[in-house]
Amino acid sequence: MSATWRTLVPTLIVSITALLVLAPFFINIPALNSVQSILNSWTVIISAVTGCALGLVYMTHAIYASYQRNKDMEQLVMGVTTYVFIALHLGLALTQSGGVNSPAYQWWYTVVYQNVGATVYAFMFFTLASSAYRTMILNSVEATSLAVGGLIYTLRQIPLFQTWFPWMVPLGEWILLVPNVGGSRGAVIAAALAATVYGVRTIWGKEISLREVS
């Protein structure tokens, strides 16, 4: 009984749901379209319900455990800071007229989230640059291909090099539109085949990654 409810029923749910969502792609029956749209809307609702608090629970676990391991002032301040910012944003959304569209909420959201967001991407310029410094060495055919493809297409995008070496623009475009297309198409087809096999196996009820999840 237990195995039925814990294993068989969830496996059946996956298979049936997948077939119901897949079927309208091949067969034009209005009822199937309606079922598909209900299932689609459920996914949005389920993820919204979990988004309300489940993440917060796990975050709290980690913060609390971290403080327990290392009971110093800095840990405490950092933990409290997170909750202060949660309270600040929740408070603004609930009390200000317009909620998340209110100027006060937008101000904080822009200052904190947008700035840090953009800076994290900016930060990546440095991480990629240092990584390329370590790895883009012309010491093998593969590494040379990577370095040549990377350098030419980088220079193609930099105005100074477009001026100094005008041929860099068509060469960069060629890299993008010929060898890149050849390689990436092969990779995309291969990954798509793998995904399809995973899909078929899951519908068949044979997928191991979902089996017996405690």
Partner: protein, 208 residues
């Protein structure tokens, strides 16, 4: 004043984030804690708003069933009934598998093959340009050889090994192009942040 404050606080968070380039430090940690709080709260608010508009404002049976499935996710937190959370998870995975199969086969397998041979055909019969023909032949070779690289049941030795090696070269050039696209994008982001500091902080302070 509000603009200057935005410039000051914004610059603080930019510097806090970048400071880890030097080493892990308390300013970076503070910035991280603040952003984690802001992002978690925003997620919670947007999720609650979705529930309000999709379920609570209508109070119809089907959305309510969705809500119940969502609540079952929380059984994960209770030892004895944690397995119940497999039910809503199964609905999500099932929908995902259906959506994936529907989109993948045509868009990422068949049309890619169609374009590979179609470009060659166009080059041969419509354009007739030698360079275009050579390019489309190169693309064809790239697709075939890179697919050979992804064969897992055949050892990469002898002829297969040579073909796979050519495929790997195509794949590496493609990775190089991807790297370059990202590198210049990230550089633009850095320039954008410098522009923010100039416009929102240095200009109001009369320093630029």
């Amino acid at each position: 004043m509000a603009d200057l404050l935005m410039g000051l606080v914004g610059t603080f968070f930019i510097v806090a984030t970048l400071s880890v380039l030097w080493k892990d430090n308390i300013v970076f940690r503070f910035g991280q804690a603040a952003v984690m709080g802001a992002a978690t709260a925003h997620y919670m608010i947007m999720s609650a708003t979705s529930i309000q508009s999709m379920v609570l404002s209508q109070m119809q049976i089907l959305p309510i069933l969705g809500l119940i499935l969502g609540l079952l996710m929380y059984t994960r937190l209770f030892k004895g009934i944690a397995w119940v959370s497999k039910y809503p998870s199964s609905v999500l995975v099932g929908v995902g598998i259906g959506v994936m199969l529907a989109g993948t086969i045509k868009g990422q397998i068949l049309q890619q093959i169609g374009m590979t041979v179609g470009d060659l055909q166009t080059a041969l019969y419509t354009t007739g340009d030698g360079m275009a023909i050579l390019n489309s032949i190169l693309i064809f070779i790239g697709v075939v050889t890179s697919l050979v690289y992804f064969l897992f049941t055949v050892e990469h030795k002898g002829t297969v090994g040579h073909i796979a090696k050519v495929g790997r070269v195509f794949l590496m050039i493609s990775l190089g192009a991807n790297f370059a696209g990202e590198l210049v994008w990230y550089q633009t982001q850095m320039i954008g942040r410098l522009m923010f500091i100039i416009q929102e902080l240095l200009v109001p302070l009369g320093l630029a």
